[in-house]
Every structure is written in structure tokens, then in C-alpha cells.
């Protein structure tokens, strides 16, 4: 049982640390992605008018 306890402790802590780092990265990168998406959509909306 002690082996399982040690394993789950490590698993929990490591996963949460990875998630914390990923959350910061996704928060910053996701904001940039949204701006890129809007830019792309603005261009797409304007295309028929240009033709």
C-alpha cells in the first residue's frame, strides 16, 4: 500500500505543476491565437467586397 501512496503523491504533484505551467502558456498563447483568428476572419469577411 505504501508504494501506491508514494506513487499517487508524486503523480498528483507533478501533474498539477505541469498543469500550472501549461495554464500560463495557454493563457498567453491563446490570447495571441484569438487575435490571429479575428484578423483572419476580418480578412475573410472583406474578401467578397474586394472582388
Amino acid at each position: 500500500m505504501s508504494l501506491w501512496i508514494t506513487f499517487w503523491k508524486f503523480f498528483f504533484v507533478i501533474t498539477l505543476l505541469l498543469f500550472a505551467v501549461m495554464s500560463v502558456w495557454v493563457t498567453i498563447g491563446g490570447y495571441a491565437d484569438i487575435k490571429k483568428l479575428f484578423r483572419k476572419m476580418d480578412e475573410a469577411r472583406n474578401e467578397p467586397e474586394d472582388e
Binding site: 500500500m1 501506491w4 501512496i5 499517487w8 503523491k9 503523480f11 498528483f12 501533474t15 498539477l16 505541469l18 498543469f19 500550472a20 501549461m22 495554464s23 502558456w25 495557454v26 493563457t27 498567453i28 498563447g29 491563446g30 490570447y31 495571441a32 491565437d33 484569438i34 490571429k36 483568428l37 479575428f38 483572419k40 476572419m41 475573410a44 469577411r45
Partner: protein, 525 residues
């Protein structure tokens, strides 16, 4: 509800400030969701956001969708009843998702075909009747699966806010949240969904990490392991032990459902792969999302365990309600986690945490509504009618969203079933995914897979209905849901192989297995 139980629920730190935070958050989500509706100009834009999702936005929206409040609730319930052994669900889910990301198994190939929905691939690779049947099975399994989301999510909100369990509170919360989600999903489609999912990801991530820290601070890290060891013994840690709540068969079923199905077969997850910029983005998105796929089970499991320990050692007055010794009915253990949060988190922060949970609720509902309704339009109604205009498709999708919303409200208000939410969800979902696993893998990786094989494999998925409690009672059966599910998967694969060999397609070589091509919908648009 028992008055004593209602009194326990009424005791919470939730105050006026928390209400202000929650309403501010909801208003921001609604305004942004409505603002982006201007980008909806065609069906591809409406259901895949113009295929403009970058890696980070893809991870955010995938996490937001798959980490729903219903997942938080049933995972907490698993932690409450199964202890740390429940962590195995997070482990297998993360490992399987990571390998799907590395290999691109199913999702990479599917994105390469250029289709908008899974049944559309059935049409591209097999034929129209397989697409329509696939669409019906998907919509049936998916909408049934979603039936309990609204009620369970609202139970959490009512529980953590300390609202009365009787009277207007529960239906009021259900109707309010549903209307909110319907408005921005109907108007903005996938654009609204991904942008609000992003906000919801940010709020949810912060909320989960803060809540975990507070639970450890209030209860004690070592105390949690010690109390679980004393009360559950080996079964509280070892998921493979006999006599515990899990076992090897259950772990294997979780690897399939919480792992492979959740990330590579479930349409709401696959919708993100299909909306990604390219195959490389899909792979990256899945590799990084494997962390979220672990956390979506791990943290709620942990909070469920924390609730168990809190009730066992720190709140004896509540312990009697959950574990009565006088023969009275125990309190529904779904309430354990909301009670914990309502008591250990201070006012102000509780508003933020509640907003994060509401975020989880909304981000799941919007995506599910959009995916099922787009399948109804694209894969059932449009093929049967033999073509529809862009405006007609968007209108049909919007109407379907509202109808599904009304159904889940009705189901949530009327449902009086047992507490086995996860079992209910796994079985209803299995109606779709057991057959689709055979059809997708066969179609993408086996040249000799035929339309007849695919059609029959999809129908085989109906065997999963045998896993439902009421059906088993009716037939006098007593078979674990995990066994029924795994057997149905094997059966569908065998049906796919045998029927394909017996009834091969005449022009198999002309069908698209996984290469990019102009899809039927794109061509029509």
C-alpha cells in the same frame, strides 16, 4: 429533501460579493459571445470557426469543453467513494491522450480528410446511408448522454450557493443558465464557443489550482492519506485490488472510455481537431491537452477525497447525514464536494471558484449543443433532403440547438433516477462510440473495410443499451457496465471485419481513407 440535509446545504460562506462576481463573469461571457457573431458568414465558419484555431486556443477550448461541471461532480463522487484509487482514471486518460497526440491516431488522419463532422467522413469513405445512420446513432447517444448535465451542474451551483433545495432554486438556476448558453451559442456558433471557452479556461484553471491549495491547507496533505488508509485500506489506493470499487476490467474500460473515446472518438473533442489549422496543430494540441485530460479527473477526484476526509474528521454533524447509523437514508454524496467548498473557501474567493465551475458548465454545454445540432443538420437532415443552402443549414442548426436545450431542461426537471451518473453517461455514450470505434479505425486504416461492414458495426453499438440498469432489470441480468461496454466494442470490431469480408464494396479503391480532399459540404458551400 430531508430538512436536516437542507439545513446542512444552507450553511455556506457564499455572500453578496460572491453573487456580484458570478453575475459579472456571466455578463462578460455573454457580451463577448454575442460580439463575435458578426464573423458567422457560412456553415464552415459557424461550426468550425473558419478552421482558424491555433495550438493554444485549441488546447483552451478542448480543455474547457471536456472539463465540464458534470465531470467535476462525478469525478468528485468517484474520489469520495473510491479514495486515491480513483486517480487511475486520470492516469490512463492522460497516457492514452498523449499517445493519440504523438501518433495522430484517428484524429490526425480524420483532420487530413477535410471533413466537418465524423458522419461526413462515413459518407466520404463509405456511403450516404452509413452517414445518416452514423448521424442518428451519434445524436441519439450524445443527446441522451447530455441529459443529466443541466441538472447535475445546477445541483452544484445550488449546493455551493446555499440555496434551498426545494421550490424555485433548482429549476430557476437550470433555466437561467440554459437560456444564457443558448443565446450566445445560437448567435455566434463556434466563434462564440471558442472565445468564451478561452475565458472559461483561464477562470477554470485558476479556480481549480486555488481550490486544491485551499483544500490541502484546511485539511492537511498527510491527514488525507492517513484517513483514507484508515477507512478504506488497500482499496483506497490500489485500483486493481479485488473487493475495491474498481478492478482490472474497470481500469481497462476507463482506458477506453476516459482515454481513447474522450479524446479521439467523442465528437465534441474531435470537433476541435477538425477545427485546427492543420494535422501538425492537432498533434501538438492533443499532446499538451493530455495534461488537461488528467487534471479534469485528478483535481475533482482529489476534492471528493478532501470532502470525504473533511466530513470524516472535521465535521461530525455532517458525517451522520452521509453515513447514518440509524438506518435512515444517507444524503446524496454528490453534495459532499459543494459542501466542502462552501465551508472552506472564504467569501469573495468563493465567488471566483463558483464562476470557474459555472465556466466549466457553460463551456461544455455550448460545445455539446453545437456539435449535436450540427450533426443533425449536416448528417441527417441535409443528406435526407438532398442539399440545403448555407442559410438553411445555419437556421436548421440554430433551431436544433434550441430544441436540444429544451429537451435537456425537460429531462433535468423530470429525471428521478439513481446516482450512478458516470455509469449512465458511459452507457449512453457507448451507443455511439462502440460502433464508431470499429467504423473509424476500419475506415481510416483498413482498405478492405466496406459500407455494409460499417453499417452493421454501427448498429452493433446498440448492444451497449444492455448496460443500462433499467434494461438489465427488465431482462433479469446483472452484468457490470464495464463488461457490457468492452464486449460491445469487441463485437462491433468483429462485425466490421466479418461483414466487410463477406460483403466488400465494388469500388473500394476510389474511396478516401485519410487523404485531404474537397468535402461534400465544402463543395456545396
Amino acid at each position: 429533501m430531508n430538512p436536516e440535509h437542507a439545513a446542512i446545504l444552507a450553511e455556506t460562506n457564499f455572500a453578496t460579493l460572491d453573487w456580484i462576481i458570478v453575475f459579472a463573469y456571466l455578463s462578460i461571457s455573454l457580451v463577448i459571445g454575442l460580439y463575435v457573431r458578426k464573423y458567422v458568414v457560412n456553415m464552415a465558419g459557424y461550426i468550425t470557426a473558419g478552421r482558424g484555431l491555433g495550438t493554444c486556443l485549441g488546447i483552451a477550448t478542448l480543455t474547457g469543453t471536456e472539463m465540464g461541471l458534470v465531470t467535476v461532480m462525478y469525478s468528485a463522487q468517484k474520489g469520495f467513494t473510491g479514495g486515491f484509487a480513483a486517480f487511475h482514471i486520470a492516469l490512463v486518460a492522460g497516457v492514452v491522450t498523449f499517445f493519440v497526440g504523438i501518433s495522430g491516431f484517428i484524429v490526425g488522419k480524420l483532420r487530413g480528410t477535410g471533413v466537418l463532422t465524423i458522419p461526413e467522413y462515413y459518407s466520404q469513405r463509405f456511403d450516404k446511408k452509413t452517414r445518416i445512420l452514423g448521424g442518428i446513432m451519434l445524436a441519439l447517444g450524445g443527446i441522451l448522454n447530455m441529459g443529466l448535465f443541466l441538472k447535475v451542474g445546477s445541483l452544484f451551483i445550488v449546493g455551493v450557493c446555499g440555496l434551498s433545495q426545494t421550490g424555485w432554486a433548482l429549476p430557476g438556476v437550470m433555466i437561467f443558465l440554459l437560456v444564457l448558453v443558448l443565446i450566445y451559442t445560437v448567435m455566434g456558433g463556434m466563434f462564440s464557443v471558442v472565445v468564451t471557452d478561452y475565458i472559461q479556461f483561464v477562470v477554470l484553471s485558476a479556480g481549480l489550482l486555488i481550490t486544491t491549495g485551499l483544500a490541502i491547507y484546511h485539511i492537511g496533505w498527510d491527514t488525507m492519506f492517513q484517513v483514507v488508509a484508515e477507512n478504506m485500506g488497500e482499496a483506497g489506493f490500489n485500483p486493481l485490488t479485488t473487493g475495491g470499487g474498481f478492478g482490472a476490467e474497470y481500469v481497462l474500460w476507463m482506458a477506453f472510455t476516459a482515454g481513447l473515446v474522450s479524446c479521439a472518438l467523442w465528437p465534441t473533442a474531435v470537433a476541435r481537431a477538425l477545427a485546427a489549422e492543420d494535422v501538425a496543430t492537432v498533434k501538438k494540441q492533443y499532446m499538451f491537452s493530455s495534461i488537461s485530460f488528467m487534471v479534469r479527473f485528478l483535481v475533482p477526484n482529489f476534492l471528493g477525497i478532501a470532502a470525504f476526509v473533511f466530513i470524516a474528521v472535521k465535521a461530525p454533524e455532517i458525517k451522520a447525514a452521509f453515513f447514518p447509523t440509524d438506518g435512515s437514508a444517507p444524503m446524496d454524496n454528490l453534495y459532499a464536494m459543494p459542501i466542502l467548498l462552501g465551508r472552506i473557501i472564504p467569501s469573495g474567493l468563493l465567488g471566483l471558484i463558483s464562476a470557474s465551475m459555472i465556466a466549466a458548465f457553460m463551456s461544455t454545454h455550448d460545445s455539446y449543443l453545437l456539435v449535436w445540432s450540427s450533426v443533425i443538420t449536416q448528417d441527417i437532415i441535409a443528406p435526407i433532403r438532398g442539399g440545403m443552402s448555407t442559410k438553411g443549414r445555419i437556421l436548421c442548426t440554430r433551431v436544433s440547438i434550441v430544441v436540444i436545450g429544451l429537451y435537456i431542461l425537460y429531462w433535468g426537471l423530470m429525471y428521478k433516477g439513481s446516482d450512478d451518473i458516470w455509469d449512465y453517461m458511459a452507457v449512453t455514450g457507448a451507443i455511439y462510440f462502440t460502433g464508431s470505434f470499429a467504423v473509424l479505425v476500419g475506415g481510416l486504416y483498413w482498405k478492405r473495410a466496406s459500407s455494409t461492414g460499417a453499417f452493421m458495426a454501427l448498429l452493433s453499438g446498440l448492444g451497449a443499451i444492455l448496460g443500462l440498469g433499467p434494461v438489465q432489470q427488465m431482462l433479469g441480468l446483472d452484468i457490470p457496465g464495464a463488461r457490457v461496454g468492452l464486449t460491445t466494442v469487441v463485437f462491433s470490431v468483429l462485425v466490421m471485419i466479418i461483414a466487410s469480408l463477406l460483403f466488400p464494396d465494388k469500388q473500394t479503391e476510389t474511396k478516401t481513407m485519410g487523404s485531404s480532399s474537397l468535402t461534400e459540404t465544402e463543395a456545396a458551400l
